[in-house]
């Protein structure tokens, strides 16, 4: 074998090359550092310019809402539906240059506010970057609407027609995460004002069949037409009186026409394929253009999304300057990242809450672990009611659950309070109905069904169940849809989602309790897609599930009898009650608050009596945040952890900086 030359000249040459390489790397690094310092300085300059531009300028000066003597109202006699904001976003002494670091989840499917209806994008991005025409007063009185882009809304023709007057002089944000210096994007430079045509554009996209947002379209079925009166005025008309009209009209996700109707080099999409092209808009995976209090400035897939305060925002600007979302798949990692101070705000899982907090809660302070950030004052926490409830639904199309007494007996045998306490670590409250317990629609006089096996037994006996053949299982004469009464044992299966170990434990406890009554329940665990299929086909006896509801929920889809016969309808349990049907129809049309309240409360009482579901519990979420985050107040509406009024004390170390 030939030996390679290992003489001095070769070694020297190698050493020289290595040294030279090292020097080059060092040089490049220094150059890059300078370059970065300059780009940071440039950023600062841009920001300063933005602030300067946001200051009142000559020309079409933005007027402060309401007091615009020059504008002409179409219906001056109608009072303005909108109120002035009454909750300050900034309090005295709040630092205004803080950064909040939160968790987002994995990469969003896209940022288009009209297409993405996932809670991650809606609550994390659209809430801050988008701008609505008006919003519910989330911190004070969600019954009322406050001015956002609209400064006046007139509701006429028994609620069928809304005349919306936009605030003048509001600019769409410059698209972030994009090099506007590039000649290709030159068409994006300059000012673009929010106009009534943008509202019309957004409505027309919702109505466009090529645009793929089925669940959003569903809300706008009864939208009749819209008419742009001038740059700042639009009249939206609905086919019939419909209480949701205000909510859906004012809550329409707005997209700017100057941007979303064009491809990357500024050519307008052809009308015939506008919807299809909008579905795959080139900017959807880069960012979002809105007019809200924050701008989306950067998105690094798999790593982070960064929002920065919009210094050009028309309303009161929030105190937090920057919101950073970390992207990772495993929600369990939040605890570790909070402890490491890589996040400044996050939510804990029930098990983590038990191990880190609940275990020590009842101990005297001296016995609590000093080194734990939860007990040494670094991390604060709070639990809050998430407006979503879990339930067990009884398929009333099956002979077994047709009788309401049987369904009541099931609820009476379901020890919900104990299960919530032990299985869900106390993170929840027994549900009494489908409404948010903090909303006025929830009737506080309705008490939850207690855990009472004796009464359950009595009710089952009343419904005709008895153990006639002595096998330990109750039976009764039941009539199937096609046939004669037959002696049927009380046996059924409960379909449970296998992604939730807690729900499976709860089902097991129920199974034991039912067995003591002589009812045999099997548990069928299923993965989500199978579960979905079984629910779509109504192929189950009983099923576990959950609904997240908006502030003023329309229960029509879930409980109206017409929805029980629609294939894949959401009234999976086949609940049919003529009075409830009537009330749900009225609830869509009677919008006067007192009358509406009476209707919804009556509906609540019927649902309580009929028990189409055993309402299980309303979940409590656990939020934890570092001590530098101040004024953490939760909104009365979803998303409750809305950071707009919070501020970050920059005198303390910030998360994510090292």
């Amino acid at each position: 074998m030939a030996r390679r030359g290992n003489g001095w000249p070769e070694r020297l040459l190698l050493a020289a090359i290595l040294i030279a390489l090292g020097v080059v790397v060092f040089q490049l690094d220094t150059i890059e550092q300078r370059f970065l310092a300059q780009s940071r300085a440039l950023d600062e300059l841009t920001r300063a310019l933005e602030r300067a531009r946001a200051a009142p300028a000559p020309g079409p000066a933005p007027t402060d809402g309401g007091a615009a003597p020059t504008r002409r109202w179409l219906h001056p006699e109608v009072p303005n539906l909108l109120h002035d904001p009454d909750y300050p976003m900034r309090v005295a002494g709040a630092k205004t240059d803080g950064r909040l670091v939160r968790w987002f989840g994995t990469d969003p499917k896209g940022f288009n506010p009209l297409l993405e209806n996932g809670a991650d994008v809606q609550d994390g991005i659209v809430l801050y970057v988008g701008a609505a025409l008006a919003s519910r007063m989330a911190w004070t009185d969600p019954e009322k609407w406050q001015k956002e882009l609209a400064e006046r809304v007139e509701v006429t023709d028994e609620g069928r027609e809304l005349t919306i007057y936009l605030r003048p002089g509001v600019r769409w944000q410059a698209p972030g995460n994009l090099d506007l210096g590039d000649a290709r994007h030159a068409w994006l430079r300059g000012d673009h004002f929010v106009t009534a045509r943008d509202v019309a554009f957004s409505l027309s996209l919702i109505q466009n069949p090529q645009v793929e947002n089925g669940s959003l379209k569903n809300y706008y079925q009864d939208l009749e037409s819209w008419r742009v009166i001038d740059d700042l005025t639009i009249v939206v008309r609905w086919k019939k009186t419909f209480c949701g009209a205000i909510e859906y009209t004012l809550g329409v996700p707005l997209v700017p026409e100057f941007f979303y109707a064009y491809d990357e080099d500024g050519t307008r999409f052809p009308d015939a394929t506008l919807g299809a092209r909008f579905d795959q808009h080139w900017y959807d995976h880069l960012g979002m253009v809105g007019a809200g209090p924050y701008r989306l400035v950067s998105y690094v897939p798999g790593t982070e999304i960064r929002l920065e305060r919009n210094e050009d925002y028309f309303g009161e600007k929030p105190a937090i300057r920057e919101i950073v979302y970390q992207l990772y798949a495993d929600p369990n990692a939040t605890l570790l990242k909070l402890k490491a101070h890589e996040l400044s705000f996050g939510s804990l899982r029930p098990g983590q809450y038990r191990d880190e907090i609940k275990r020590f809660d009842s101990l005297p302070p001296a016995k609590r672990p000093k080194q734990s950030p939860f007990w040494n004052g670094d991390l604060r926490y709070r639990t809050y009611l998430d407006n979503s409830f879990y339930y067990i639904g009884w398929n009333a199309d099956r002979p077994l659950f047709r009788d309401k007494r049987v369904r009541q007996a099931m609820t009476l045998a379901f020890d919900r309070a104990r299960i919530v306490e032990h299985v869900f670590v106390g993170l929840g409250e027994v549900a009494v109905g489908p409404y948010d317990v903090e909303s006025p629609f929830h009737d506080p006089d309705i008490r939850p069904w207690p855990y009472d096996p004796a009464r359950a037994r009595a009710l089952l006996a009343e419904a005709g169940f008895a153990d006639t053949d002595g096998d330990g299982v109750l039976d009764a004469d039941l009539t199937p849809d096609d046939g004669d009464p037959t002696r049927t044992p009380f046996e059924f299966s409960l379909l449970v989602y296998n992604g939730s170990p807690e729900m499976e434990s709860a089902a097991n406890i129920l199974k034991e309790d039912l067995l003591a009554l002589g009812v045999r329940m099997r548990i069928e665990s299923a993965e989500w897609s199978l579960m979905q299929k079984r629910m779509d086909e109504k192929d189950f006896d009983a099923v576990t599930g959950g609904w997240a509801l908006s502030y003023d929920p329309d229960l029509y889809q879930i409980f109206h009898s017409s929805q029980a016969d629609v294939p894949k309808g959401s009234n999976r349990v086949g609940f049919r009650n003529p009075e409830a049907d009537r009330l749900m129809e009225q609830a869509r049309e009677v919008c006067e608050p007192t009358a509406r309240l009476a209707i919804l409360r009556r509906l609540h009482r019927i649902l309580h009596e009929e028990q189409p579901y055993s309402f299980f519990f309303v979940r409590r979420a656990v939020a934890a945040w570092w001590k530098e985050v101040e004024r953490v107040e939760f909104a009365k509406l979803r998303p409750k952890a809305n950071s707009l009024p919070w501020w970050v004390d920059t005198a303390l170390p910030e998360a994510g900086s090292r």
């Binding site: 069949p209 982070e304 570790l336 109504k538 016969d565």
Partner: protein, 482 residues
């Protein structure tokens, strides 16, 4: 040799075609359908709302889900069959919810091929429910797909045709009536549909060639193959992003992780294997073997969590807060120089790489050990020892070189793993690599993503095996391919 390589390369074509066909069929015939929206409630909502139904139809058209998978026999769809489905859908005959859903999906699958059957049912079925259902379905089935709707710059002819089609579709969408419509209105709408069909019946009449064309070419397979021929892997059904750029961006993470851990594994396993071989039977050999097999049997999700909890910044022990809690790099990567970014990424990858490496040490070091033992027993090594070459030189210089060959050829088989990524490590450490992407895509029935990844790894397997075989011949002059 050249002939051999050429033969192998040519053989790859039918192999690839076979694998592609199996993959494609398995994927498309597996239960579950891709939906425009992932949440089920949304699907229910879109089924109720006609506009939602329209956009569902357009979504299916855009991804060719409105066509059969392999062969398209729908040109011969019998009107009686369409009517039977309509009857079940409209509950004109007793039908359970499951049967109604199935009937709806059947009608959806037939798409525009059902139009003659629908018109026949609408015209002469005595039952109002069936007739109404026929009009309802006709409203979707009769619409014509746009040509190349995503074209950046459609040529004038296509644009004009699309305008005409969109105008016709918009008109057809209005030919409907509500549930309790008065009889004259019903009759008027039905008459309009009837007249429209008479005017356009030729769209559903094919000659023999046309039938053959429909049978073979209007299928999902044909559509995919024709795109594939242009190396167009399509866009994700879920995010609407082109598949290949996303794949490339994910490769950055997966290749770094798997190549890094591969190098690390070889760098650790080879010396350990040599040590075991040299000290065969001694206590250090046994200690190494036992130690590596203990590591081998530890599941990586457990070790990963353990490492994170105790060695990351969130550790309860202040002295052990050595590494970040996961992720690819620290926040705000754009504010660091390339060198700082490199160091930052390396710092982030220590724990995940350790996790991906320790499991493969046992096998590799055993290979090394046995291969070196074989060589040490060979005659030429005895000769070297006999002529007085020091033991160290014998092992490291004479024996090791020869013993390394079988280990290095193992690499060829590991090539596809580079693409696969590691789901568990990616999940626990929050690294957005291939593994998580593919698993998510499978759950969401994102056919285009799954196919692109699988086809690419097929190519890698084929190339990998060829490279392994060639490497053998190159390393061992006794092997000759003719």
């Amino acid at each position: 040799m050249r002939a051999y390589v050429l033969k192998r390369l040519l053989l790859m074509i039918p192999t690839f075609a076979g694998i592609f066909l199996v993959l494609f069929l398995l994927l498309n015939l597996a239960p579950g359908r891709p939906g425009g929206t992932s949440a089920g409630v949304d699907l229910a909502a879109s089924l109720r709302d006609e506009r939602g139904q329209d956009s569902q139809r357009i979504f299916r058209e855009q991804f060719q889900l409105d066509r059969p998978v392999l062969l398209n026999p729908y040109f011969a769809l019998r009107p009686a069959k369409v009517r039977a489905a309509l009857e079940r859908f409209a509950q004109a005959v007793p039908a359970t919810s499951a049967e109604r859903v199935a009937a709806w999906e059947e009608l959806e699958d037939w798409g525009s091929y059902a139009v003659p059957g629908l018109v026949a049912a609408m015209r002469d079925d005595p039952r109002a429910a069936v007739c109404d259902a026929a009009v309802l379905v006709l409203r979707h089935a009769a619409q014509r797909p746009l040509l190349d709707p995503f074209a950046e710059r459609p040529d004038p002819a296509t644009a004009a045709e699309n305008r005409a089609r969109e105008a016709e579709n918009a008109e057809l969408r209005t030919w409907r009536y509500g549930p309790g419509a008065p009889e004259p209105e019903r009759r008027e709408v039905i008459a309009r549909w009837s007249a429209w069909y008479d005017a356009h019946a030729s769209r559903w009449q094919w000659d023999a060639w046309g039938r053959l064309r429909v049978l073979l070419l209007e299928t999902r397979l044909a559509a995919y193959v024709s795109n594939l021929a242009r190396l167009d892997f399509g866009v994700s059904l879920v995010t609407r992003e082109p598949v290949i750029p996303t794949l490339v961006s994910k490769l950055k993470y997966s290749i770094t992780l798997s190549l890094g851990s591969l190098v690390l594994a070889y760098a650790i396993a080879i010396p350990l294997g040599v040590l075991s071989a040299v000290t065969r039977g001694s206590s250090s050999d046994r200690a190494i073997t036992v130690g590596l097999f203990v590591l081998y049997s530890l599941p990586s999700f457990f070790v990963a969590t353990l490492l994170l909890v105790y060695l990351s910044q969130g550790s309860p022990l202040p002295g052990l807060r050595l590494f970040p809690t996961g992720g690819w790099s620290s926040p705000d990567p754009l504010s660091r120089t390339s060198l700082a970014e490199l160091a930052d990424v390396a710092w982030h990858l220590v724990l995940p790489m350790a996790c991906m490496t320790y499991g493969s040490l046992a096998a590799l070091s055993r290979y090394m050990r046995s291969s070196l033992l074989d060589v040490i027993a060979a005659d030429f090594v005895r000769t070297a020892r006999a002529k007085g070459v020091p033991e160290r030189t014998v092992v490291l210089h004479h024996a090791l070189r020869n013993a390394l060959l079988p280990i290095l050829t193992l690499l060829g088989g590991l090539l596809p793993a580079v693409l696969g990524g590691s789901v568990i490590v990616e999940y626990v450490f929050g690294i957005p690599g291939m593994g998580l992407w593919v698993v998510d895509s499978i759950f969401q029935r994102d056919y285009n993503v799954i196919l692109a990844v699988e086809l690419l790894s097929t190519v890698l397997v084929l190339v990998g095996t060829l490279l392994t075989d060639l490497a053998y011949a190159w390393a061992d002059p006794r092997i000759r391919y003719e």
